[in-house]
């Protein structure tokens, strides 16, 4: 961990120095060294291969398969082969010709025969609310077959409504941008452009923003609480430091669910925190701490504190007190010494702790569900609801994808500013 340990960078540098001194044989030596390096690398890769394989099989592939659902949804295209054919030449405005109506009628009947009618109805309904019962109703009427199919189709106003055919047409392409756009509160308009959805339906941008705000607030709170505590632990005698570290780690080993449940007991209207505040005379009335943003941030801060504190502490432990003394002896005031000598050395630990907490907060699920109010639900709660309740896994995949992109982008920015090798996690 110390800066004096040799690192991998040393070897190429040595090569370069050497080659400058002896240009003639330098090339072959450098090549030999590279070969030796390659052997090393292959050997270490081979050792890591089982782990990499396990990661790819159990982690990588399922993630890719699930995320691909965000852009690949062949249900409608598979269910409507004849309609897809009939719509090939359609320009997308107005109603298509009668051949398309007839093709749709034929597709509907074959779906009913195959027993896939309901899946089609559900898929269409996800894009066009109300389509479900119209599809099922039309199918029943087609089955009765007392009228020609075209007449049945034209008699149901839904099939001649302005918004219906563009949606069917877009559904006949298996690769779709519908879900990703929805996850960003966008949609295709009838002219083929992208527009914002009406404000009463726009939801996800707000939720993403809220997720980032809550994560930032919790990160800041853990930093404000964690930094002085880490300093305290790093500066007290070893025995006391061990006790303090255990005190920090003890909640760390307790399940998040248990800690969250404990906070609901403490924070509720007639709970201990409110009792205490009233008794101390700090508050005149019982505060709404449960089902509120403030309660959510308190609980999340408690859960995340060790994640921020430990990297900071591990860096602080390595800083020699003599450096500060040296700064004082050179005439620095305490704050200057702290700012110019101490802080730059702690910085990598602070960044690592904050990054860890921030990214973990982006995926919080159980605490917002139990302690947050209706307007404190984070993006994970919406993903869970699309997976479990709505059964719209395409939408869940799209939201997960956007979250993953945001998180990776953020990580990339951090790594760029700081350099990944300077991050000190433990």
């Amino acid at each position: 961990m110390s800066a004096f340990e040799p690192t991998k960078l040393d070897r190429p540098r040595a090569t370069r120095d050497w080659s400058a001194a002896n240009a003639g044989t330098a090339k072959s030596v450098a090549a030999a060294l590279r070969r030796a390096d390659l052997g090393d690398r292959l050997r270490s890769l081979a050792l890591a291969a089982p782990l990499l394989l396990l990661l790819a099989l159990s982690f990588g592939i399922p993630i890719v398969l699930l995320l691909s659902r965000a852009v690949y949804d062949p249900t409608i295209a598979d269910a409507l082969p004849q309609t897809s054919q009939a719509l090939v030449g359609w320009n997308g405005t107005g109603l298509p010709d009668d051949a398309a109506f007839l093709a749709l009628a034929a597709d509907l009947r074959s779906n009913q025969a195959k027993g896939t009618a309901y899946e089609l109805a559900k898929s269409l309904n996800a894009r066009l609310p109300g389509a479900r019962s119209q599809v099922l109703k039309t199918m029943r009427q087609l089955e009765a077959a007392d009228r020609p199919p075209l007449e049945v189709m034209k008699a149901v106003p839904f099939w001649s409504a302005p918004g219906t055919w563009p949606v069917i047409e877009s559904g006949t392409h298996s690769v779709t941008s519908f879900y990703l756009l929805s996850a960003l509160d966008l949609r295709w308009n009838s002219d083929g452009g992208i527009e914002r959805v009406p404000p009463e339906q726009a939801i996800f941008l707000q939720v993403f923003m809220r997720t980032f705000l809550v994560a930032a607030a919790v990160t800041l709170a853990t930093l404000i609480l964690g930094f002085p505590l880490a300093y305290l632990i790093a500066s007290v005698p070893k025995g006391l430091a061990a006790i303090l570290i255990v005190a920090v780690l003890l909640p760390f080993w307790t399940s998040i669910l248990v800690r969250t449940a404990a906070w609901t007991v403490l924070l509720q209207k007639f709970g201990l925190v409110n009792d205490l505040l009233l008794w101390l005379g700090v508050a005149n009335d019982r505060l709404d701490l449960m089902y509120s943003r403030i309660g959510l941030i308190i609980a999340m801060t408690h859960i995340q504190l060790p994640f921020t504190l430990l990297p900071i502490y591990s860096v602080m432990r390595t800083i020699q007190p003599s450096q500060m003394k040296a700064a004082y002896s050179l005439g620095a005031k305490p704050f200057t010494a702290f700012r110019r000598v101490y802080l730059p050395q702690v910085f990598p630990g602070v960044m690592a702790g904050c990054l860890l907490t921030f990214i973990l907060c982006l995926g919080y699920y159980i605490t917002p569900a139990l302690i947050g109010g209706a307007s404190d639900q984070l993006i994970s709660n919406f993903i869970a609801s699309y997976v479990n309740v709505e059964l719209n896994w395409e939408m869940a995949a799209a939201l997960s994808f956007i979250l993953l992109v945001f998180t990776l982008a953020l990580f990339g920015i951090f790594a760029r500013i700081l350099g990944l090798d300077r991050l000190k996690l433990v």
């Binding site: 027993g115 707000q206 919406f382």
Partner: protein, 349 residues
């Protein structure tokens, strides 16, 4: 090498033996229900008597009512459950998504013997429950007389709890805004109707605490977090009967719904599952559940078999059927996903 082969053979034989042993024990029915007092009641009323009568062992599993888990089972072709209990709206959803088996009622009971809306293509009704209003008379000095009183914050100040879901709340909002019960779903199918319902909910938005799980409403009342709450009647009655809670239930303008049971696609013992469905759909057996939890039978002809002391607490007891609304499953199948999204957007504003 020989030793390794011998061990391999022993292992294979043991595996085969275990599998065979499992096949011999095939008279086992795996039922997934959503736990709590309701599952306890089902065990006493149905699981145990069924096992006793038929010799078929019932393996119970629990889940939280989310169909996502079942969908994952069906998608991967590994379905370790034979029956799953679900809400009505979920039956429709699961039917549409091809997760639930379409039922052959000739193997269960005549469909017309069930209360309307409780025998669906992919799910058969277990019991009827009411979405009601509950309050603590020690906290509220004046007693609410209708579920719609939840919208009256001047007469009943304080926080109130509602389920974090658009279903029921939108219906009540329209009824409180003067729409007749019979017209609720027709109005709600129009964009203007939806706006009207949300506008009514707006009037109490600041006073609402939202609940997700059925166990929360009695807790919220007990911890005095709220002065009144919407709830499933059985949960409140359970708190009154078992925990001695002082709560009262308001039945006026309740919404009547059904619990359902369904067979997931690819279930391993469909014949046993049908046997169980036929068993619990007999009127005298169907009525037995009411003795253990206050949910009513779904067989029309089961009323006479309900224990007399259980009857007055049921949602479909004659006294409670004066002003009520039957939840429209088809409507929620069509507009559910869209309204959930709109509801979530509204919550976030």
């Amino acid at each position: 090498m020989k030793i390794a082969n011998a061990r391999l053979f022993a292992f294979a034989a043991a595996t085969a033996f275990i599998t065979m042993g499992h096949a011999a024990l095939a008279d086992e029915l795996s039922i997934m229900a959503s736990g709590g007092a309701w599952q306890d009641a089902q065990r006493k009323a149905w699981f145990e008597p069924f096992s006793k009568d038929t010799g078929i062992k019932i393996v119970e599993q629990e889940y939280l009512g989310d169909l996502g888990k079942v969908k994952a089972m069906v998608d991967t072709g590994n379905v370790p459950i034979d029956l799953v209990t679900v809400e009505t709206a979920t039956v429709l959803q699961g039917c549409d998504a091809g997760i639930l088996e379409r039922l052959d009622y000739s193997r269960i009971a005549p469909r017309e013997k069930f209360i309307e809306g409780s025998a669906l293509d992919c799910g058969v009704g277990l019991d009827a429950y009411g979405d009601v209003l509950a309050y603590d008379p020690n906290v509220l000095k004046q007693a609410p007389t209708s579920v719609l009183d939840i919208f009256d914050t001047t007469k009943f100040p304080g926080k109130r709890a509602m389920r974090k879901f658009p279903a029921q709340n939108l219906e009540w909002a329209l009824m409180a805004d003067g729409v007749a019960a019979a017209d609720v779903y027709a109005v709600l199918a129009t964009p203007e109707g939806v706006n009207r319902a949300f506008k009514k909910l707006d009037t109490i938005k600041q006073d609402i605490v939202w609940w997700d799980a059925g166990a929360q409403p009695p807790q919220l009342l007990a911890s005095k977090e709220v002065v009144m709450t919407t709830a499933w009647n059985g949960r409140i009655q359970n708190a009154i009967d078992k925990d001695g809670a002082p709560f009262k239930i308001v039945w006026n303008n309740q919404i009547l719904e059904y619990d359902m049971i369904a067979i997931p696609k690819g279930a391993k013992n469909p014949d046993l599952a049908y046997k169980y469905l036929a068993y619990i759909s007999q009127p005298e057996i169907n009525a037995k559940l009411a003795s253990y939890i206050t949910y009513g039978p779904v067989r029309i002809d089961a009323a006479s078999f309900v224990a007399p002391d259980a009857l007055p607490k049921l949602p479909n007891a004659p006294d409670h059927m004066t002003a009520y609304l039957v939840a429209d499953t088809e409507f929620w199948g069509d507009y559910g996903e869209d309204l959930v999204k709109r509801f979530n957007a509204w919550l976030a504003q």
